[in-house]
Symmetry: C2
Subunit: 402 residues, 2 copies
């Protein structure tokens, strides 16, 4: 089996890059912190004798050669970027557990039939450059390269220039072209496994999402000299939409989630009525029809508001169903390792969501303490991590010898 | 009387500094734009033969010597800073109309008894450094110098260092120590004069204000994997407070105004439930008791919310009543100039609010088209500006010969 101490040490070393004072990490895509994390990850893969390469999206690969060099490789991995003040397990665990599983396979002394490639995708979070999963999205044909290169962060900096700046602009030839399968280990980021006392989630699919941007227009005016009845306050209008959406989503009770995560009021000073308010809306559902229905209900709630609102789509993807063959192998591995598991649907998006377009894909979840993620308190207990990494190792071995 | 073309030309030249594409100005306190505006203003005063000086708050003065050098001077002026994407008349008109009035007095060829000093105060708006009216506030004993020097902008830059950086750190000896009176011309920034077709507002006082900062604490979590019923969304809680406050203030119908101008959600990304939301609340009333009552009503509305909210005060001042003698002289000047006027209370704060603490003070308002200000559409018609500048000129002459 895998060596927990080795994995734990790497997790702790990696967590120092972008560490926050409350035990989380801020390691946004294509920043200095991301650059450092990438360098360390490549160094570790090279120390293990893997052949590393970087593609033109900054996705990083490390290859363990199999017996048959012509057989399509088995892929595994996740991402090293984080949200601001995020957790140290989200993404990183999937990358370093992949490294641990591959090291364990190497230690076996027997080569697998197929090569195994570890991959770390660029900008999974969508926190610095929207939308999320840009690196895997291009690989899987969801986005064009030009679209991704032209994405800007909040300060107007371009994805392409930031990728060049941190020295991770690789060659298009280095992208994955054909793969046998992809399996990603990730923290659950939700409360289900913990509540049901299961160590592993065998992930059968991912909820679909719509990311929308709403712009409410009003009239900017002086806060002191404009009577209440002469105002067109865009923030008051936005606030009432936010509470309406929250109430509607809460009352549905069918697994729908709707979130306003970002808001800006302009001019954004104490003594001016906000003339414009911009906010985001993230809507998700595991059922494709219910997702479409929810988006149209949300749109009509927004349009019923007396305010002047424009809605634009930032990104969307329908719900995804993973490969039955790969999930079966993960289940088998859980049984082999004698760990408790349940089948589960992911509410959060993952690189596996897009990889599923081009190869047989599934995911392995480990429990999140209190269901928390995208916050500094994010945690997964090491005994669960050990079980997850072992299930990943067993699954990779099965896939690589199919 | 005053020469409108000369004043208009100066207004247009000044409006180029920090001009926005939609006809407004962004000239925040102690920025490069502010520096340029200050230099130009000093140059104009020197061309007119005034003696200029700068004090240790960056307040700028220009003195026209009177017959009696020992008599306390009459002060007039306003501010050159603006809000982001603000108007070109707010503040600037009071400074340049003062210059025009003094030039007209000079052209008379007869010296007034008292000296007249034009003043442009630092950071009136409170848009870059909160609270508002920092320059006049120190002069009038409202704030200590250390307090003002330690104020930080949104990027953490210090007032003191920015004052030094733009080269406007003057001497404490240059502050106003004793004054006979202060009169400030300003745009109304509200709809009353226009609605009643009056050219001049004789300002009898200013509404009191409370500027509060509210911090709502919730729990940051993943937007995709956290069920609706497990959320502690600080932005949803803040939104419901914002709509409640708006409804309450609108229903009072007694002249109370309450505004949320600024809001920030943290971590502030699309796919995280905001764990913390911070926003401002600006409450104003012309009646001191009603203001106190309103603040305690607002506080209990906030505390009734189920959210965890902390309230801190950014700044406050009770309503102000101006000098009856000065307002009478302004009224007389309106009659002399044969312009229509009405008495009025200002909803917006002004440097005159604090100057009233140390000398006999009043203000002259000119109408704002559609009542708009703190926006690029802010406008005042030049025929009204001509009347206002003439009333200022006549009033200064009376005050300087009392
Ligand atoms: N797993 C995860 O946090 N992904 C980020 C993109 C998303 O929010 O779906
Ligand atoms: N007149 C004006 O806009 N003053 C700024 C400070 C305030 O909002 O009272």
């Amino acid at each position: 089996g895998i060596k927990l101490e080795r994995l734990k040490n790497r997790m702790k070393t990696m967590a120092q890059i972008g560490a926050t004072d409350k035990g989380g990490v801020s390691r946004l895509a294509l920043t200095e912190e991301d650059r450092k994390a990438r360098k360390l990850f490549i160094q570790w893969m090279q120390e293990l004798g893997l052949t590393t390469r970087v593609d033109d999206l900054g996705n990083i690969y490390g290859r363990l050669e199999g017996i048959d060099p012509k057989a399509s490789p088995v892929l595994t991995g996740s991402h090293l970027d984080s949200v601001p003040k995020g957790g140290k397990f989200d993404g990183t665990l999937g990358v370093l557990a992949a490294l641990e599983a591959v090291e364990t396979i190497k230690e076996k002394g027997i080569k697998p039939l197929r090569s195994i490639e570890i991959v770390s995708f660029t900008n999974e979070e969508g926190a610095r450059f929207t939308p999320q999963m840009l690196g895997s999205g291009v690989i899987a044909g969801k986005f064009t390269k030009d679209y991704v290169y032209g994405r800007k962060d909040a300060e107007g900096l371009l994805f392409k220039e930031e990728l060049e700046r941190i020295g991770f602009m690789g060659c298009p030839e280095n992208r994955i072209t054909c793969a046998n399968s992809f399996v990603e280990l990730h923290i659950e980021q939700g409360p289900i496994l913990e509540a049901e006392e299961k160590s592993i989630g065998v992930v059968e699919g991912i909820a679909g999402f719509y990311w929308l941007k709403l712009k409410v227009s009003g009239q900017s005016d002086h806060s002191g000299s404009t009577p209440m009845n002469m105002r067109k306050d865009s923030l008051v209008a936005a606030s009432s939409i936010i509470t309406d959406i929250y109430q509607w989503a809460s009352e549905r009770k069918d697994g729908l989630v709707a979130t306003v995560g970002q808001i800006q009021a302009f001019p954004g000073i104490i003594n001016a009525i906000p003339g414009e308010t911009v906010f985001t809306l993230d809507i998700r559902h595991a059922d494709p029809e219910k997702l479409e229905e929810a988006v149209s209900e949300a749109t009509s709630i927004i349009q019923q508001s007396s305010a002047d609102v424009t809605i634009t789509e930032i990104g969307s993807n329908p719900p995804v169903r993973f490969s039955k063959e790969v999930t079966s192998l993960i289940e088998e591995s859980c049984k082999d390792a004698n760990v408790s598991y349940r089948k589960i649907i992911s509410g959060a998006g993952h690189d596996a969501m897009y990889m599923n377009n081009i190869t047989e894909t599934a995911m392995i979840f480990v429990p999140s303490t209190n269901g928390k993620s995208h916050c500094e308190e994010e945690h997964t207990a090491y005994p669960d991590i050990e079980k997850g990494a072992n299930v990943l190792y067993l699954t990779l071995w099965k896939l690589a010898n199919r």
